[in-house]
């Protein structure tokens, strides 16, 4: 029987099995405030777009769950067992060394996505699962885009900056900047400085 593991603004996440594999089902639920026509088209478009982006991410070797099935408002993804990075950071549960390693990994993963024209859209510690081998798995491409826009890429980096301490961020940034085959990192960081100067200080992420 599917069991609810999480409920967000758009979707509920159910744990289940599919073709013998442990999976999560991301089910975008009906919203009663909007008319049926708008509701169903948004749920369908968002589901398709998230699937497309996750497939692109898998194809370029980024560590993301595999998309096993796409329904009209449902995604079936391989289930990643581990701890949410935000919990680890807040609870200090991983020892210091591990967190720095994980943040480097998160920086490398983002560089890989950006190099391949993928923007995550909500790149915070609430959307990274850390498995038992201390590897970072990137989830939740619901706000993602296939774009090479510097601004969108800079927002990805900025969201991570706002969600962790300065020390962890510098570790993340260092690996983002030094990732092989990715030459735009400096430009992205320059744009990030621009955005911060324009200054709309706020938390914008849901996790």
């Amino acid at each position: 029987m599917p069991k609810i593991i999480d409920k967000g603004a758009e979707a509920r996440l159910l744990g289940s099995t599919f073709l013998g594999v442990d999976v999560v089902i991301k089910d975008r639920v009906r919203k009663n405030y909007r008319i049926e026509e708008i509701d169903s088209s948004i749920r369908k478009e968002r589901t398709r777009s998230e699937a497309r982006i996750m497939c692109a991410a898998s194809a370029c070797g980024a560590r993301v769950p595999l998309v096993l099935w796409v329904g009209s408002s449902v995604l079936v993804l391989t289930r990643i067992y581990g701890a949410m990075l935000n919990r680890l950071v807040e609870g200090g549960r991983a020892d210091g060394q591990d967190l720095f390693g994980i943040m480097s990994d998160a920086g490398r993963q983002l560089a890989l996505l950006h190099r391949n024209g993928i923007v995550h859209g909500d790149y915070t510690t609430a959307n990274i699962i850390v498995d038992r081998q201390h590897k970072a798995w990137i989830i939740d491409f619901g706000l993602g885009e296939l774009t090479s826009s510097l601004e969108s890429r800079a927002v990805d980096v900025l969201l991570m900056k706002r969600s962790v301490s300065a020390a962890l961020y510098s570790c993340f940034l260092e690996s983002y900047l030094s990732s092989r085959g990715y030459d735009d990192a400096d430009k992205v960081v320059a744009r990030l400085a621009d955005i911060e100067r324009r200054g709309r200080y706020q938390k914008r992420t849901l996790g």
């Binding site: 919203k31 405030y33 026509e37 708008i38 088209s41 706000l143 706020q202 914008r204 849901l206």
Partner: protein, 325 residues
């Protein structure tokens, strides 16, 4: 002692009076809008001609004289420069002549605080929807206490979009509430829907809707545009509600007069076990009482301003205002 508030950001010139958070008078006059947009200089001329009458009317309604006024608030912005100037000059004239302290008030803070006061709500998530602006904000708990923006329009305000559409569709008077009337019984045409997290944009929708008028009925286009725009606002609001973990939602500003918008937000609050608060239409329309109310809070929390520091600012951002109460 009572506080006088003067509002003149756009089409409305208002004067209100309040005392200890209670509204004693709320007078206003509105520039007659029919089919044209606002020509700021013309509206300012209209306001200037009515300044004395409206302020005098408010004092009479409250049964007070200038001697009973301990503070004067006026709208510093955001708004149209020429219109703002009329309110500021009126406020300064009375203040300097009678030696009364002046308080420059942010228009959006006025809409928010008057609703909070009406329902005794302390810390809501706010959807502020007016002509020129559309923002989702809540008080921050930082040392610089202010309304932090969770999400906002990246181009035009929802009210201006509705008004522009009304003009394009020949809806008279060209006004949001008339668009709502025109939309009754319409059927849905697919339109562009753009929400990015908690931010949204309206110009794509407006352009699409205006073009769609060529081969669709005004009713269907108005209906589809309104449903799309309000759904966008609601989606962003629901995200912000979950992120901020607030329990109360305030919707305020001119477009908060829309019954459909309030109905949609009502559904969101029920599903998230939150409470929705919207003030009466006379307080969601631009008015002087809300300016008086905020000025009184500024005065009571120890703010003071030199007359020379009391100017106007057409782009006075809500999140730059320090909240001292």
């Amino acid at each position: 002692m009572a506080v006088l508030g003067i509002e003149s950001t756009a089409h409305t010139f208002g004067a209100g009076i309040c005392e200890k958070g209670r509204i004693l008078a709320n007078r206003k006059i509105m520039y007659p809008i029919w089919d044209k947009g606002l020509i700021p200089a013309k509206v300012a001329e209209f306001h200037a001609a009515n300044t004395y009458k409206v302020i005098r009317g408010a004092l009479t309604e409250a049964g007070l004289g200038v001697a009973d006024i301990s503070g004067i608030g006026y709208t510093k912005g955001p708004g149209l420069g020429p219109c703002l100037s009329v309110g500021m000059v009126a406020a300064k004239t009375i203040a300097v002549k009678n030696d009364i302290p002046l308080f420059p008030v942010n228009h959006a803070v006025g809409h928010i605080e008057v609703t909070k006061q009406a329902f005794h709500v302390k810390d809501p998530l706010v959807l502020y929807v007016s002509g020129g602006n559309s923002q989702i904000v809540a008080l921050s708990d930082e040392r610089f206490r202010h309304y932090m923006v969770y999400g906002e329009t990246l181009d035009v305000g929802i009210g201006n979009m509705l008004d522009s559409f009304a003009r394009a569709a020949g809806i008279l008077p060209a006004w949001g509430s008339e668009v709502a009337r025109a939309a009754l019984g319409g059927s849905y045409i697919k339109m562009p829907y753009t929400v990015k997290g908690m931010d949204f944009t309206f110009t794509g929708l407006l352009t699409f809707a205006t073009r769609a008028l060529e081969n669709n009925s005004v009713r269907d286009v108005a209906y589809s545009m309104q449903e799309t725009a309000f759904s966008m606002l609601c989606e962003a609001t629901e995200r912000a509600l979950l992120l901020s973990k607030k329990k109360d939602i305030v919707v305020c500003g001119g477009v908060a007069q829309s019954d459909r918008l309030k109905q949609m937000l009502g559904s969101i609050s029920r599903e998230n076990r939150a409470n929705l608060f919207a003030a009466t239409n006379d307080l969601n329309a631009d008015n002087g009482a809300m300016i008086a109310l905020v000025a009184e809070k500024m005065q009571d929390s120890g703010q003071s301003y030199a007359v020379d520091d009391c100017g106007i600012s057409q782009r006075y951002r809500l999140d730059s205002v320090k909240i001292t109460w």
